[in-house]
């Protein structure tokens, strides 16, 4: 049995008066791919941003490797081994591919050559373009760069916020191959997706979020076959 690496307990997140996350609990086991699916505005991004310390929770705990990290600053959380690939990729357009990767390793003081090798062997495309400005890459390449940049921090847990957003279907398939390849490297993945079909196929465990609450959970396979999910998220009507 694998260990729980991340355990969220009754997490609430407020923006001013608006409660975006209304007390959710879930856990992620080491080595798994876990997905949060749900419509726009459900609170998925808020959840990930709170885990990485960009938002402060109004209550609840976030246990990472046994330690409560709720309310810590992002720098400390990144050091502990969590990274977030943000929604919209957000690569640095003026920095070269190589510099984008370097800044991903900003918190580290040790030698990076092995990590460059790992990223470049996962994404040979990036190696060909290491001197190019990030902004000149295609959408799919930028997503590779965003994932590569996240890997440079040597994370134990990589979180991705809607990596398939705005990309052509053929590229989306590539993104999910990337996610599985990263996971095979032994890195735990927590994935936000609106593309429920792809996400559930890839996921070991899935949670459904609706207006700030988790309304359903199960293995990826269970949810793929669930009638309600089929109707609401997979665009298939009941037979």
């Amino acid at each position: 049995m694998s260990n729980t690496i991340l355990k969220i307990n009754n997490l609430k997140v407020n923006y001013g008066g608006i409660e975006a996350v209304k007390g959710i609990s879930f856990e992620v086991k080491e080595g798994e791919i876990v997905t949060l699916i749900g419509a726009n505005g459900a609170g998925k991004s808020s959840t990930l941003r709170t885990i990485i310390g960009r938002e402060k929770p109004s209550s609840g705990t976030i246990e990472f490797a046994g330690e409560n990290i709720a309310g810590m600053d992002t720098t400390s959380i990144v050091k502990k081994g969590i990274t977030l690939v943000p929604e919209g990729r957000k690569i640095f357009p003026d920095l070269t591919v190589e510099e984008n990767l370097k800044i991903g390793a900003y918190m580290r003081k040790d030698n990076l050559s092995q990590d460059f090798e790992r990223v470049y062997s996962l994404f040979p495309r990036l190696k060909e373009r290491y001197w190019q400005a990030g902004g000149t890459l295609s959408g799919g390449e930028q997503q590779m760069l965003a994932v590569g940049r996240a890997l440079m921090s040597k994370p134990k847990l990589i979180m991705m916020d809607e990596p398939s957003l705005g990309l052509a279907p053929i590229i989306v398939r590539g993104i999910f191959e990337i996610i599985e390849a990263v996971n095979k490297e032994g890195i735990t993945v927590l994935l936000n997706e609106q593309n429920a079909n792809m996400a559930l196929k890839a996921a070991d465990k899935a949670y459904v979020m609706e207006t700030g609450r988790i309304t359903m959970e199960g293995t990826g396979k269970e949810l793929l076959e669930n009638e309600q999910i089929k109707e609401a998220y997979l665009g298939k009507s009941k037979k």
Partner: protein, 291 residues
């Protein structure tokens, strides 16, 4: 001919001094989108630091102390007047900068009692030598060399070090930089430290050519350097340096003609023309709103 040579030399030298101030404007703008109105006054205060310190200490002790104190001043201004307004509208930070500018001028007025203070004669660089027959002070020759050395170091720092990459990343995107673990406040502080350091060096060179320092001594060179930064494309370091040399040389050459009274007006006219014709300057980036 000798007159012309000596004019060109002083123009280059003045341009170099403006460049050292202009870099502070352009780097702070690049990272905070803030025109740091207090920068010229920090430059003036560096002049006063030199006067007061050298009155009781030898020059070789005063010079490094001036630099250290000016750097500390720049750092403290950022922490006290700009950092608390990090998420406030840009206009508030701008007003805070204007406030700091007046504060420094009035503190200087208080300290000097409104009397012009005679600037220290720094031995060696104040000596006069002959270049191609034209009498020139050593500071005029040293300035461009020193400026070029400092700019090369700064460029290496920005382009090839970890902190340089972080500075460029923060200048583009606070939020994502923070996701990488970058502490943006440290990066911003370093930017102010570099800007104040260069202003302190600039002040030592600049005031050596002037008899006194008064509370408004920072205003004109500050304005010239600011125009240089805008001319070069605010946010761009090479742009600011080129702009500063052009303004320094033009200004000095105009001073040597019958139109010498217009030498300051020239800079202001240049500002108006750039803002009308090409507000992004020579090397400026496209104006993109930072979110």
């Amino acid at each position: 001919m000798e007159f012309f040579i000596s004019q060109v030399l002083s123009g280059i030298s003045l341009g170099g001094q403006y460049a050292l101030i202009a870099i502070g404007y352009t780097m702070v703008y690049g990272i905070l989108r803030l025109i740091n109105f207090a920068h010229g006054d920090v430059f003036m205060v560096a002049g006063l630091f030199m006067i007061y310190l050298s009155s009781s200490l030898p020059v070789f002790v005063s010079v490094p102390l001036v630099i250290i104190l000016t750097v500390a001043l720049g750092f403290i201004i950022e922490r006290a007047a700009y950092k608390p307004l990090r998420s406030a509208p840009r206009m508030s930070v701008m007003i805070s900068a204007i406030g700091v500018s007046y504060l420094l001028q009035n503190l200087a007025l208080y300290a000097t009692g409104g009397q012009p203070k005679t600037y220290t004669t720094i031995p060696f660089i104040s000596k006069t030598i002959k270049i191609l027959g034209a009498p020139t002070r050593i500071v005029t020759v040293i300035t461009p060399v020193l400026v070029i050395v400092l700019i090369v170091i700064l460029t290496l720092l920005i382009n090839h070090t970890k902190i340089g990459i972080a500075m460029r990343a923060v200048a583009k995107d606070f939020e994502t930089s923070q996701l990488m673990g970058v502490k943006i406040n440290s990066v911003i502080s370093i930017t102010f430290i570099i800007g104040s350091f260069l202003a302190a060096v600039g002040s030592l060179l600049y005031f050596t050519n002037y008899p006194t320092v008064v509370p408004l001594s920072g205003a004109m060179p500050g304005l010239k350097a600011f125009v240089a930064a805008v001319f070069g494309g605010i946010g761009s370091v090479p742009g600011a340096v080129i702009g500063a040399f052009i303004i320094g040389i033009c200004e000095t050459l105009i001073k040597g003609t019958d139109f010498s009274v217009f030498s300051d007006a020239f800079t202001v006219a240049l500002l108006i023309v750039i803002l009308g014709v090409k507000p992004t300057g020579m090397c400026g980036e496209k104006v993109t709103e930072k979110v």
